[in-house]
């Protein structure tokens, strides 16, 4: 047991161990943003589709208070991954600063991409966005979202149920331009972060192959663009009055 603890400590304190943890926790979010986007895009199917989807999401598994165990399990897992991702980022960054105590008077990069050079910056702003996003739509919509009709009646399996009006909440919020623009900017930063991240996971976890490298970067960039277009389409559609 103590041997196992010493070993885990050694792994967490090693450069590659930290990077692998960062990659693995980030990979969870690579998957999550896609599923989250698919859920959100149901807003284009109308109020009933997204409201019933949200209702079902929150009522799956044994009930804990207001919400189901499944959604809480997912939240705890995601929060843990976020904590790992931020912890490793801070620790790695600190070591990186210490590794170059004296900067160059004349600095120059040869092939570093913009996305790779601003990973810390995009990551920090995405973190701020996540906190705001959770307060806005998950934990305190009554304080952070623009006023909307809080519940709506929809029919599930033949019975009428009063449920949270997610559609009204999102539409009302994004009709206010500053919020919509903030969300779109956050999605651009997320795309920037993802375009470097997906390809980096392959490199960091030891799966790089020179013959497949160009393809991996293409997939990474395409995935980032897919998430950007999918997510940004919602505030954009509401802001332009396409959805109301």
């Amino acid at each position: 047991m103590t041997a196992a603890i010493t070993r885990s400590k050694g792994f967490i304190n090693s450069s590659i161990g930290l990077k692998a943890l960062m990659a693995a926790s980030g990979l969870v979010y690579v998957g999550f943003v896609f599923v989250h986007m698919l859920g959100n895009l149901q807003i284009f199917l109308g109020a009933e589709a997204i409201n019933v989807y949200a209702y079902n999401l929150h009522h799956t598994g044994p009930m804990l208070g207001k919400s189901g165990a499944v959604v809480w399990g997912a939240r705890i897992f995601l929060l843990l991954c976020l904590a790992i991702h931020v912890f490793t980022a801070v620790k790695l960054k600190k070591q990186n600063w210490q590794a170059r105590p004296q900067k160059y008077a004349y600095s120059h990069t040869i092939q570093a991409t913009i996305a790779s050079r601003y990973m810390g910056f995009s990551g920090l702003l995405i973190l701020v966005f996540i906190v705001y996003h959770l307060l806005h739509f998950t934990f305190m919509p009554e304080r952070f979202a623009v006023a909307y009709a809080p519940t709506m009646e929809h029919t599930i399996h033949g019975t009428s149920v009063a449920m949270h009006n997610v559609y009204g909440m999102v539409v009302a919020s994004f009709q206010w331009a500053p919020v919509a623009i903030f969300y779109i900017v956050a999605q651009v930063l997320l795309a920037l972060h993802l375009s470097h991240a997906v390809a980096s996971v392959i490199q960091t976890l030891g799966f790089d192959q020179e013959s497949k490298r160009a393809r991996v970067q293409q997939i990474s960039t395409a995935y980032a663009l897919l998430i950007l277009v999918g997510n940004a389409s919602i505030p954009l559609a509401i802001l332009t009055g396409l959805l109301q």
């Binding site: 590659i16 161990g17 170059r100 160059y104 092939q111 490199q203 030891g206 790089d208």
Partner: protein, 251 residues
């Protein structure tokens, strides 16, 4: 002589490890464009010595691009602006008359400056001593075909083995990470049958030593690969990561 270059050099001067250091300006006059960068510095140093000043200290040895001793960060590029070239093989024809050239030492906490442009790179030796070898009994050399090695592995191992240990990867990395160097050493041996018995131990011990020396972490920008005078591929870093992660899982 016609066609000589007149250059302004902004050179890092530092009297010793404890000195704060500063950039000083020198004029390099009428430099033959066919001289190497180090020969240009020799000319400047001649002038400094005859006028009774301290010459600019810099590391060099073979001047054939193979020993890994020369260094210098020239206008932000380790070994200068040409790809796949060491400073000693960089020629002044790569510059234009009137250029201002900033010359700094390789910057890393793990490479302390000894004097001016000369840094202590013995951290690399300690990383190599931690596992960059194969333990084989001495004796008569075995027949060349006694241990078959696949052509692709032999080529990839050779590519990794071309690392001259100059430290340009560390100098180029914004985090002063040594992963291209350590990756090259790990990959070179892990691709060959002779390297298999110590493969996991090697990855673990070399990475441990690399971390202890205070090198930074990889940010996957691949500036190291671009600056490497031997054009070693970032693939060696991925290989090292794979070996290290497998070794950590198994032990």
């Amino acid at each position: 002589m016609s066609g000589g270059l007149n250059l302004t050099l902004r050179v890092w001067r530092q009297n010793g490890p404890g000195d704060k250091g500063r950039i000083e300006e020198y004029q390099a006059k009428d430099i033959n464009p066919n001289k190497s960068f180090l020969e240009m510095l020799d000319v400047v140093n001649e002038g400094l010595i005859t006028s009774g000043q301290d010459p600019i200290e810099f590391d060099h040895d073979c001047r054939e691009g193979i020993c890994g001793m020369c260094s210098l960060v020239i206008n932000g590029n380790p070994h200068g602006p040409e790809r796949g070239t060491t400073t000693c093989q960089l020629h002044m024809r790569s510059f234009s008359d009137g250029d201002v050239i900033t010359i700094e030492p390789f910057r890393a906490g793990a490479f302390p400056v000894l004097k001016d442009l000369m840094v202590d790179r013995s951290a690399f030796d300690r990383v190599t001593q931690a596992g960059g070898y194969v333990s084989i009994r001495t004796g008569a050399a075995p027949d060349a075909h006694a241990t078959p090695v696949g052509k692709e592995n032999a080529d990839a191992a050779f590519d990794a083995a071309t690392c001259i240990g100059c430290g340009a990867c560390v100098a180029a990395c914004k985090n002063a990470s040594a992963m291209l160097f350590v990756g090259a050493k790990v990959t070179h041996l892990s691709l060959l049958p002779q390297g298999q018995p110590e493969r996991e131990e090697r990855a673990r011990n070399m990475v441990k030593q690399m971390d202890e020396e205070g090198f930074g972490n990889c940010t996957n920008q691949y500036e190291c690969e671009a600056a490497c005078p031997k054009e070693i591929s970032r693939n060696v870093i991925s290989n090292m990561n794979g070996d290290f992660l497998l070794a950590s899982l198994r032990k």
